[in-house]
Structure formats: structure tokens, C-alpha cells
Subunit: 331 residues, 6 copies
């Protein structure tokens, strides 16, 4: 009702933006959150020529679509990660280069600085993304991972990201980490730790996606109430726990969509996220930005699902009250 | 009541075995499951001289303690793992060597073969342990880990462990993997996959420790009923989920004992494991081996706790019925 | 579907009735339950002149709105309560007078008798309201409150309300107590006690509002099944328990709308009330009166909310079956 | 969205088919599942004359209604049951005959063979129905019912139904047992036993109606995943557990619709069935047939309810995904 | 602590009473509830000769065992049941006779009258048992069982049992029906119906065994509070629900002890019965009789189990308070 | 195991201290927490003569009982409460005086100052007690209680208690409020508010009694972790929620012990308090004081219950670990 609803284009990169934008406009969305892959939003081209971003804007306006943020999860992931073959498939060739891990990480860092610059040129002030983490893979403590090891991971994160965030600040753009397993922050305690490692840099905050919290049994309301000023962007995505005593909450090395998994992503409204308290918490935090549907559900047709999700979230979004009820008792 | 109760010595390696054995005997345990670290059971010395194992046996008998298994988790872990600095702290210098990963893995494999040989000399037919895993660290699928990647991990596991298991078979000893996150098998589906990768090698089975299943929300009864012939050994250990909406089931990079963690180990009987159905399932499976207490609880004095755990499990262990009740109605 | 849906005007007294009635008619409500405060329905004016009630009726008819009940919670509250400063703000000056407690209580009692008379003139046969209670504030028993003390409270209630109820009976109007903490009856057992104290006076029954029962963990279905003939009116209002281990079900002296409270009112359909069994129980009880939305939600815009609530309750209200299914098997 | 939605006419046999078909077409259903009682579909008349089935087809086509299955629960029930007076009321006179139990059972068997023949003539390849059971009434084991007794019941079932199923096979029609208490199969284990007794006859499968599983606390998803190739037809019906500590899940000898019962049927969407995972499981199983609403709710007007149920199930039915999401990350 | 604990001998009929009594005395029980089968208590012999009951009493006294009740479930079952082959195995030959159903029922009725006479001779004033039921097997309503059918079942029950109960009354003995599926009463509503059918005959009450209520999801506390004056005897027995989404609460035609069943009997303290509120309810009801352990657990050695159960119930039984606490605040 | 267990004598004031102390010593308690009523500990007499406290000490030592705290709940309650007749019954005549509310409050304040003085003379440094509250009775907000009203209540509390606490500080004694409904603090948020109102006076802390938190659905572990330095004393008492859909969590104006109440006190170990995490939290907070059983259970004999409670809490109390487990892996 009150906030614009956009679609994150990351899972639609198999479609040219022009095709996608026409569909999305027709479905009644208010805007798009462009992914920096496929032909949706190319950072290098945006920096090369004025015409590129003008053309993107024109295309969106033609479809009656607004834009509030762009997203560069894939490159961001490579800033801190131990690099292996899997990263090659998510990077442009110019960032991957010869694949030497440290070289990849440094080129990824430079690309993120360029993403900030491109965002300003495009006219948005939020970039969503991932950070990677050098300690994620040591999650479960055997052989024992000491707090010294973990601390070193957070220092590495700060060392790599602070220079990036300074560029963001200079450009007037903010970076919104999507809190997520595999990242430097995946729950409230690790988010506190990440913020502390960065000395609470003003350009660093969160893209809150409740689907990554629900299957960890976190309450996204508590997350919003803990960091009300750091909610820079919001994803509308859902997940569902489907434990049966035989599978593990750790997913059993099974692909998404395998019904034997302990949890899975589902179309918003079909999962464990409780949207009413989520919206109330956003209202309390004064969040005015878009609700951006990131749609992923291995068991549902995506065009059907995304329209259903749009109706769902419009039905859930409501404005806070401006009346004190007890006051009405007095004349 | 009916099965011997032993103590796993792994968490007591700061004490010389002699000191420990006297205490354990006095507490009323039936035996010990010796860890292959500290001075408890040293594989190299066992192979070097007859006197070593004779002396160990004499010490235990003197304390009125039996022995059914030895355990070599630390070396086993290094057979398949990507090796990093943390592994150095859990290995004997001769296995670590120069720390070159592939060299470490091969020396670890040889040490496991020797462990089988030493076990036979010592007079037990079960070795408990870990296997490590080349794919554990790719648990959460981002960047996407394909099933091809995972399959490669299981093939690596089979390639490294089949030659070890053949030595076990030749020695008449069985290897019991403690099903556990960080290992090649951590739930029912991954245990099926591991067995399949090994073509169901007869010397490979499980050391069932329910504490590693409970916080994954697995039902250990279903595990026993799925693999009744592969339960080679049993640990009595407990864990407890303590979610509060702020922490994650993934543990928030917090140490054991930190009350903010989403789950933790606790003294047996204080956690989420339901021992009555566990014992019934062991009865159904015909498991006759020891119930071996592995005690770990960061919030309780260990000497108090281990005695309480002994009383708890003796109170829970009971023999199956030999009477059909309806039959009693007929004269 | 089958019952008229009205709006209770109590929380809208900041709007003149004319403004409100036009809105409510446009939203598609079937009628209004007028509050006896603001300018919505003034008991003294109704008794003074025929023109007053004719004008009210005309206004409602013009907006296509029916009327089934009026409500006088505020004055009713003062019949039995220990009076303090807070009561001044909810009373007309002529009832408050000099504020002497016993004087206030007696003037409130007289005003309730007049409310019955005004209701008949207006053409409705139900007055909803509160009763107050001299023992509510002694709820939690320390220092010990004896059953003798409590009994005295119910006798005081009977002594004050029986003469009022006799006037109701003479006028052909019924009084419907909104069962509610702070009142003489707030659950099934206290409702039984109140009815017994009144010797089951035929003019005394209940305005069932499930929002006041849900956070006490009462099942409103059991309430309806217990007192099917005493359900004189029904409010559609909702509440939600939001305990987090830190707050209390007793509300921590926090205002409505504070997210730290242990429970709060929410727009109907957003809370803990289960409407399907509620409607079935009303069907069983043969209740034919209005479903009157009392809307209070500190976190939602009220005009948005009240329309959503109207849609919700129309979607939930359904007629009972008139077919015996098994009969259809026989030809 | 993707599957046709039909209405099962069994509970509407008090209406002539012509009356019913017009209503159902107007409500927007895609088709009808005709019951073999009332005048809806009469097996004997269908076999007598070509004109009968042509007229039925014409009537349905005129109302824009398709047909995928017919149903003969009542006669099927009598094939294996111990026959008593209650069966008389559900049978045509020609099948009941003199009521001698074995004669009834044999005439019922012959009628089922004829039902297969009539189905082929009518142009559908599924017949839904019941089987009856000689051992259902010995459900609770006192006096002790031995496994020998139970086995005899399954052998009796096989002996009576195999010849029927052979006729089905010859006619190219399949029989779909509605898994249900009172039948030879009422959960997963008894369905396995029934299939085994029939040597997995290819013409025998299930009409999956989740309302009969929910109050037994079965998960219909597990049923579908267990027998994906045997789901021949699907009913959309719902039930709800309403235990209160005083009633029994065994229903207390109370009629449907009595609020004191431990469980009851309710309009689809008002009960305990979770439709989203149900649809996903049907998608996985590749089930392409109709979703047939069997409507029974003693507390709701049936014409209101059946239209609400149609909207509900259309909103829940969705097509599976044809995109692999991770693939979209790669260009 | 306060009530005697006895053992019901029904499941031990494979042992001669002498053997059993010695064991039971040695285990520390206070007494025995003798079953009227095996050689434990033979009604015909008790009526034949004075010596028989004197010898029984002497044997028990010698073992320091008291007696408060005898039990004749098996014969009682046959008073109302439709008789089939299974009943033969639970009856003495003289009652079974030629097996003609009505003859069996009448001989069973006569045997129950004799049981009352024998009880008086033996010196106890309670006989526990079953009643059978002509309508149990029509439990689930398909083909439709009408309330007329059910009413007929209760009238049959009354017609058969009232003459028996008159003999009980004449002998000063009371009959305690063990409320149980398969009997005329199996929950609160059917117990009300049974009492009403008997016009509340003073000699008819209940042997409350919570294990038969727990898996029906009844609360035994509500049962005691509903019928405080009709609790003539109490069994200490336990059951456990073990649903897994695949099995049914109706037990899947599986034997007791099969782990796939939806519920099973377990040793007292291992199941779903909550003993603390159970004891408090007995205290409220003023029940002073024995707590009689009926032990049945297909997964536990019975001699171990029965001793554990004795310790459990002694630890749970406590006397009510005789102090009003608030009174202690005043001097 | 590690902390002394004492008995609070408040509910035993009907017994002379000498009688009680002998019993308590014989039961195996370590000490007594004397109530300042009955003849247990009389503040006025303690201040009058040296001999009084010497005699008390001698009596306790003779029974082998230690003392760590005294308690004066009754007088403390009257410091802030609106005074009515019920307070007369809990006060010494000299404090009640003429019963004028403000006079009573001031004399109660003076008595609390004297209690601090007497505690020092007796040799304990903790006084447990209540504070009363002028706003408790305005708990549920109708008529609307504004935050201004509530703030005024906390200011009144500070104004009355700060001068008392200054005397405590001067005497080297601390006051421990038993957090409890009816008091100025009854949950975490009101405890924060109370501490803030007192500017965190160092002599003010809490006597943590989990029985008053459990039925409010507070987690006592969160309380301890919130105020680790303010836990001055601990009560071992338990309560149990017993909601049935008909009663209210607000207790329905029913006495303790009435089974219809929504919650009640029960003997420790029989209620909803989870003692294991409670003890762990005390270990974390470094609490070294006594565990003092306050025993109240209207359904159990108190002498039986108090001994059972002693065994229960001794079995639950354990010392924290002094070993870091992972360290044991390294040699």
C-alpha cells in the first residue's frame, strides 16, 4: 500500500532486460532492482559511456518502472572469499583474470568501488550485495577454530572493505550487505561483530532478506529492532523448514528443490516468514524504501509466482497509525 | 543395566591414563574407550613393541576396566580434509611432517591403517573416528556447489578410504565413523551416500553419537532403524538447542559454552536426546556393544558430570521383553 | 455473508458523526454501533427532545446504515469502580460532578438507567457497556484477598446493577457486558459468578469481544458454548500475544503499541483469534445479530485497517448447513 | 491454475443431475465426478443402452463440464465388508437382494466389474471407490486380533478384488481406492500391505483424499512420495482436529457436526490439510488429473462453501518451475 | 507414599500365583489385584469351596500382600460383544460352551454375577472389568451409523448389565469398568452416556486407567474431575504416541511392540501420562484406594520394568496439604 | 552440590522457630532464611537487646543451621501500597497503628530501616522483601492509565525507598526485592525502570524467585543475564500454568489450590521452571549465595514436599567447568 514494490532481476538474467522490463511493468510492479550481471546493469559499460545509463533509464521509464538500488552480489562475494573454481562461474572474465586468488579478490574490490561510481551515475544511492568471508568455511568448530582465527577473519574483512566503503561514502552511495550464510554476517551476533570491525562505517548497512534468517530460526523483527538505522534495503523472499527427523537443517548436500532437504526457498507467503510483524517492525524503524521481491522457488512456475507474491506483499504492507486511540475517549 | 558403560578418554587427555583409569574405576565404570592421543593409546608405540599394549591392558585390568574400542578421530579427520593450520594442532608431528596438504593426507591414511593393526594387537575389533571431507566446507551452496562437485567429494572419500578399509578387513577390525557435521556423513541421506560410495564395504559402519544429530533436528531412532547392521559403536553424549530469535542454529561463530550460541553440548540427560526411545531402537537393532559416555559440557564440573551421566544411562538402559503379553491372557 | 457488519464508533469520537457516517457508508458497512460519547449519541439530549433521535436516525439512513445497539462503556465503568482521577477524563461533567466517589457511582448508575430509556427511544434493544468492579484491583492475591473479599465485590455489583437492569427490563432493552479485564467478569468462571450474583437476571448478558479473551488464553468458542443464550452482541476485534521471554503477559506497564509489550490489540485477522470456529459457534448458538468491528491497532492506519477488517469478516461469516450429508447417500 | 477442478456429486444426490450440472457450470467448475447413485450415473442403465451415456455426456457438455472419473464407493464397500443392516441403505435393491451377506458381497463384486465396463462406455478411465474390509472392525486389538487374523483379511480382500481388477485391466480402466478408515487401506503401512496382497496389480491405485489422513495425523505428502505412480485421482476435502481433553480422537460415537467430536470434516481450506506442500508433491509425482472437490461441512451452507473451495484450490494449484535458478547466475 | 501400590496379575498368568506372589512381595509391593484367569483367582472354585478363598488369602498374607479388588475383564468383555472366534481364546470352556453367540453372552453374564459373589467371599468390594459393546465395531461412521443404532447399543448394554449390577449391589460389591476402546465407554462423553443408560446405578463406576485415554488425547484429570464419585479403582499404566507422518493413530493393523505403530503401551513413567496432576486429581476426588500397576511394555524386560514402575509411582504419590498458606502470614 | 540450601520460614510461621529448626536440621538443610514475622525474627526485639540475636544464633547453630539472609516482605509491601484492610492482617500492631494510610506507609519505612540495622546485628548482609507499589492496581489500562501516571508511581517508589536504602548502605546490608506481581518490579522491563528510578543505588538488587516469572512467561535465565550483579539472593520455588481454554491466566478470582485456576504454585520440580538452565545462569553470574527453598503447594503435604524439594535442588546444583575441552585435544 505505502511502499513501492520492485523486482530483483538476479534470477531472471537469462532474459534480456528489455523483455523482462515489459513483463514486469505489465504485471504491475513499481520498479526494478537491477542485477549487475546478464545485460541488466553492466558496471564497466556504465562507467564507459553516458549513453549506457541514459538508455537503461529510458527503458525503465518507458515501462513505467522506477529504480532505487542496484545489486552486485556476485562480485562482492569474491572480495573476501577463499577463491576456488566455483567463483569463476559467477564472475566476468575481466575480474576472474588468471584466477590467482589474491588477484581475483583485489580485482573484485576494485569492481565494487566502480559499482558505487556507476550507481551514482545511474541515480541510485544503494548497492546491495555480498561481502564473502574468509572464515565461513570454518563454521563448525572441528578441528577447533579459535576465536583468534575468527577475529582474524573479521580483520581481513575490515581491511578489504573499508577502502571500498570510503569510495561509497565519497559517491553518496550506501552498501547494503544481504545478511546470509556464507557471508561475514549471517545473524544478529555476527552482524554486530561486522559493524564493530568496521567501526560502524556510515556507508555500511544491510539489505534485509528474511528468507535467510527464517531457516536459521532467527526472528527478523529482532534484527530490525536491533539495527533500525542500518536497514538500507529490503528483500521480500521466503523460506520454509521441512524437517522430517531424517534430514538435517544443514541440508544434507542436497540441491534446492529436492524435497528431502531440511529447508528450502519458497515463493513469498508460502514459507515461515511472518509478514505482519515484519512490516510493523519496518514501520517502527521508519524504513521508507522499496520492498523488493527476490523470487526463488524450485517448485513453482516463476511468472505465476512472482505475480502472486506481488499481490501478497501489497496486501501485507500498511501504513502506521497516526491516531492515539485512548485519546479518542476524551472529547 | 545390560550393556557395559565405558568412558571415552578423548576429553581427558590432559590427564595421564594411569591417573584417569584409577578415577574411572572408582566411579564404577565398566571400561574405557581409549583415545589415540595424549598418552592414552599411541599407535606407533603399539606397533613397535609388544610390551606397550601389554602394559596398557595390565593397567586397565588393574582398575577393573574393560575395553571394546579405541578411537582415532584426529588423524582420521585429516585423511580427506583440505588441510590448514588448525590441523597441525591435532596431529602428531610425524603425521603433520612439513604440512604439505597432500602429504599430510597420505600420512594420515597410513596412520589409520596402522590404527587397525594396533587395534588388533590391543585386542579390540572396533576403531571409532572421523573421515574428514573435501566438500564439507562447501556446505551452503553459494557460490553454487553443483551435485558434480559433491559427487567428486564422495569419490575422493572412497578413493582414500577403500584402501584403508581393506586393511581393517584383513585385520578383522571395523571402522566406525562418528556421524558428525564436518564429516563425509552427518545425517541419514549423507550416510546413505557414503555407504554407496564405498559399495557398502563390510568394514565401514557408524559410531552413533546422538548429540551430533539432535541439534540438526534428526531423530537418532530413525538412524538406527535405517542402518541397524552398521551400528558398530555408540556414544552417550547430549546437546541442546537454545534458540532465542537472535542467534542462529549455525552458532554465530561463538565458542562452545557461550550462552548466546544457538545450540551447545550438555551433560547426557540435560539435553534434547530422548534416551528411552534410543535404547529401544538399540534393542531392536540387536546392538550388544558398550554405551560409551563422551562427556563435554562447558557449564558443569566434569568429574561431577561424568558420574551423574553414568547413573543416568544405567537408569535408562534396559533389556527387551521376552514375553508376548497377549499370550498371557490365554492359559 | 449472512450477518450485518457494523462499526463501533468508540475509537472515532474525534470525528463528528456526520463525517464518520459518510465514510463508513462509502466503505460498505451495513450499520453503526454508536458510542455514547463525542457527539455520536448523547443520552441526555436523546431524552430531552424527540428531534435528537430523529435526526440521528435520519443521518444514518441517509448513509444507508442500520443500527442495532448503542454502547456506553465509559459511564458503565464508573458504577462499581473505586473512583480516581482517571475516571474524570472518561465522564461527562454532569456525571463527574464534584468527583466524590460514591456520588460519581450513583450518578453513573442513573445515567445507565437513562441509557436504557434512550436506547428504546432510538429504537435499539441492546446497550453494550462495562460494569466496573470494586475487586478488580485486588486481582493478584497479595496481601491475601480472601474469597470473602471477592464475594463482597460481587454483592456490591449486584446491589448496584440489579436496579439498573430492572429499568432495562421495563424498557425492553438488554444490557450486554463486554467481558474484559477490569470488569466484574473477564473469563468463564467470573462470568458464571456474575450471573449467579444477579440471579440470572434476564436483561443481563454479554457483548462478546474475543480480543479480550485471546491474550488471557481463553477460547471464545467455549465461552459461546457455555452461555449461548446470553450472547446479546458481538465485537469483531483481535489481539496478539507477543511474548519473548523478557516481557510479561501482564504488559510491563507499557502502553499499547509498544513492541515490548507481552500482548497487544491488532486489526482483526492479524491476531490470535481463530474466526472460523468463532463463526461456527455463533451459528450453533443461533446468534443473528450484527458483527460489530471495534477497531484498534496502534501500528496500522485506521482507515486502511477498518476496510481490510470488513473484507476479512465478510469472508469468514457463513451460514450453517441445512443438509445432512449422510442422507445424500440414500436415494 | 493448471489442473481441472471438478465436483464430486456424491453429497448432492438429493438433486437431479440436470439441476446440479447447471449450477456447477455456472459456478465455474471445469467438470464433474459423477457418483454411481441417485440419478447421476446408473451402472445398469449405462450397460443397457447406448442412449443413456450419450445423454449424460450431452448434458455435461451443454453445461461446459468435462468428466475424468466416476465413483462407486457404496457398492465397493460391500465387496469385503461383514454385511449388516446399514449396508441395505447404501445399495440398490438389485444388489442387496435378500440381504444374505455372501450373496450381497458377490453381487457387489459383479456390480463393480460392471462399473468398469460402464466407465469405458462413458469414456473415463478411472473409477474411484471403496473396497470394504473384513478386518476393519477388529481394529483395536481386544480380544487380541492376531496377525494371522489380519493376514486372512488381506487374503480375503485379494481373493475378492483380483478378479474385479482383471476386468478393469481388460477394459483399460483403473480402480482408485479412496484410502479411508473402514477400508482395507487407511494409512501408508496398510496401503503397502494391500498392494502386496494384490501383487501390485497394475489396475489398482489410490484416490488420494487428504481429509481422511489428516485426523489420523498422517502427512499426505509422505503418501504421495511413497506411491507416486499409484495416485490415480485426487479429492480436495479437508478435516480438522478439535480435541479438548474431554473428547477422543475416536469421535465418541458422536455424529459429524457435533462440536464435541474430536475431529470433523470442514470445507477445504478451513482444516488441517496444508495445500501448498500437497500441490508440490502432486507436481513431483507428475499427477496431471483433476482436483475433485468432495464437499462436506456440517457447519456451512453447501452452495456458499463449494464456491469458496473452488476459489481456494484454484489459488493453491500452481505449475512446477521449469528454470534452474542457479543457472541464471551464469550468463 | 500414602496409597497402597498393588500389581495387577493379568499379564503374569503364565506364572502360578505362588511363584508370582513371592516375587511381588520381595519387590516391595503392598498387594495384588488378582486376575480371574490362570490359577490366580478362579470364580467357580471360589464359589465351590470355602477352602479355596482361604488358601488364596493365606498365600497372600504369607507374602505380606494385601488385596483390594479382583478383575474379570475377559468374561465381562463377552457380555455385550458380537462374539467371534477370538473370544474363545479368552474364555473358560464352560463359558464358551458351544460358542453360539447369544449363549456365550448369557453365560458370561451369569459368570459376572458369580464374580460379584466370589468377590464378597474373598473379602474385596471392587471387581474391575470390561463390559464389551455391540456398537464398538461401528465406530467410524461408514456406512452411516445413525444415532438410533448407537442408542440401541447403549440400551442393549443396559439390558444386559442392570441385572448383573443388581447382584453386585446385593453383595455389597461395586463393578469398575476400565474405560477403554472396545468398551461401551472409552472417553468422557461415552462414559456419560453409559451412566445415563444405567440410570446411574450406584454399583457402576470406573477403573481409571490413564494409558487408554492418553493416546486418544483425553486428559485423565478431566475424567476424574467429571466423575469424582465413580472412581472405584485406579490402574497405573502408561502409553505413548509415536506418530511419524506415515503411521496412523489407529495403529495400522500392527501388533503392540511394532515400532511403526502410531502409539504403544510403555512402562509407567515412560509415556505421555502426566502423573503429578493425575495424583492431585485423585487427592481432590478423595480416592483412597490402591494404585494398581498394570504393566505392559513390549520393549522392556518385565521384571525390571515393574520394579522401576513401583519406584516411580511411590515417588509421585503424595498426600494433600492440610495447611492454608496465606494463613501462615498472620501470626 | 556447591551452594548451601536453606529454607525460607515464611510459610511456617505457625510453628515456633525452635520446633521448626529441629525439623529442618534433621531433614538435612544447610540453613534457614528467617522471616520477620511469627517468632522467627522480630526486628524490634533484635534492636532492644543483644541477647535476642545471640539466642537466635545459638538455636540455629545447635541445629547445625547457617543463616545468610532475613526477610521482611510483609512490612516492605506497605511502604508504597495504597493501604486497605488487607494490610492490617500482615502488619504488627505497632506498624499498623491507627491504619491511616500515609501513617502506615511511614511507619513501615521506618521498620525497614530498622530491619537493616537488625540484620547487621544478627550477622547477615541481605534482607529480602517486597516494596509495594502505588501503580500496581492500575495494571490493566482502563480507564486509560497514562505513562505520566506510571512515572509518578516510580517517583513515589524512589522517594520512599532511597532514604531506606541509604540506611542499608550505611549498615553494609543489601535489600533484595523479590520480583513479583503486586510489586514495583515484576518483569525485566519494570526492573529496569525501578533501577533507573533509584539511579542504580548500590544497595538495591533482587531476590530472584522464578516461580513469579514462569506464569508470566518470562525466562528467568534472561533475567539473570540482564542483571548478573544484582542477584543478591535466590528462592527455589515453582509454579505451573494450567490453562484449559476456560480459565484465565489472570486467575479468575480463584484461590490458590483451586484446580480451575489458570496457574498455581507447586512444589519445586513439579512446575514450569527449568532448573538446569537456571543453575547455569547463576554459575555464569558468579552467584555464590544460598538456594533458599520457599515452599508453597496447596496440593501436597508440606513436610513431604520440602524434603523432596531439597533432594531435587541438590541434584540440580552443580559447579561450572574449569576445563576448556578443545584444549584437551592438543597434547
Amino acid at each position: 500500500m505505502t511502499r513501492p514494490v520492485t523486482l530483483f532481476t538476479g534470477q531472471w538474467a537469462d532474459l534480456p532486460l528489455e523483455t523482462l522490463a515489459k513483463k514486469v511493468g505489465a504485471w504491475g510492479f513499481d520498479g526494478l532492482e537491477l542485477a549487475c550481471w546478464g545485460d541488466h546493469f553492466e558496471v564497466d559499460k556504465a562507467l564507459e559511456s553516458d549513453g549506457y545509463v541514459r538508455a537503461k533509464r529510458a527503458l525503465l521509464e518507458q515501462c513505467n518502472l522506477k529504480f532505487f538500488a542496484i545489486s552486485n552480489h556476485l562480485v562482492g562475494q569474491c572480495v573476501c572469499d577463499p577463491i576456488d573454481e566455483r567463483h569463476k562461474s559467477i564472475l566476468p572474465a575481466r575480474v576472474w583474470g588468471d584466477g590467482d586468488p589474491e588477484g581475483v579478490r583485489q580485482r573484485a574490490a576494485e569492481e565494487m568501488r566502480n559499482t558505487a561510481r556507476a550507481a551514482r551515475l545511474f541515480g541510485v544511492n544503494v548497492v546491495n550485495g555480498f561481502t564473502g568471508s574468509s572464515v565461513w568455511a570454518k563454521l563448525y568448530f572441528f578441528p577447533p577454530t579459535s576465536q583468534k582465527d575468527i577475529d582474524a577473519g573479521y580483520q581481513d574483512f575490515a581491511a578489504r572493505w573499508l577502502p571500498i566503503l570510503d569510495v561509497f561514502q565519497a559517491e553518496g552511495v550506501r552498501f547494503a550487505l544481504e545478511v546470509h550464510p556464507t557471508e561475514i554476517a549471517y545473524d544478529i551476533y555476527t552482524s554486530q561483530r561486522a559493524l564493530k570491525a568496521l567501526n560502524h562505517h556510515p556507508s555500511f548497512g544491510f539489505n534485509l532478506d528474511p528468507s535467510h534468517l527464517a531457516h536459521q530460526f532467527l526472528n527478523p523483527v529482532f534484527f530490525i529492532d536491533e539495527f533500525p538505522d542500518r536497514i538500507f534495503h529490503v528483500h521480500v523472499k521466503d523460506s520454509r523448514v521441512q524437517l522430517n527427523g531424517r534430514n538435517s537443517i544443514l541440508s544434507s548436500h542436497l540441491d534446492f528443490g529436492d524435497p528431502r532437504r531440511g529447508w528450502d526457498f519458497v515463493s513469498p507467503g508460502h514459507g515461515d516468514v511472518k509478514w505482519d510483524p515484519f512490516i510493523r517492525a519496518l514501520n517502527r524503524a521508519g524504513y521508507q524504501g522499496p520492498l523488493s521481491i527476490e523470487w526463488e522457488d524450485s517448485g513453482m512456475d516463476r511468472e505465476y509466482g512472482v505475480q502472486e507474491a506481488l499481490r501478497m506483499i501489497r496486501g501485507q504492507d500498511f501504513a502506521p497509525s497516526s491516531v492515539a486511540f485512548d485519546a479518542a475517549f476524551a472529547k
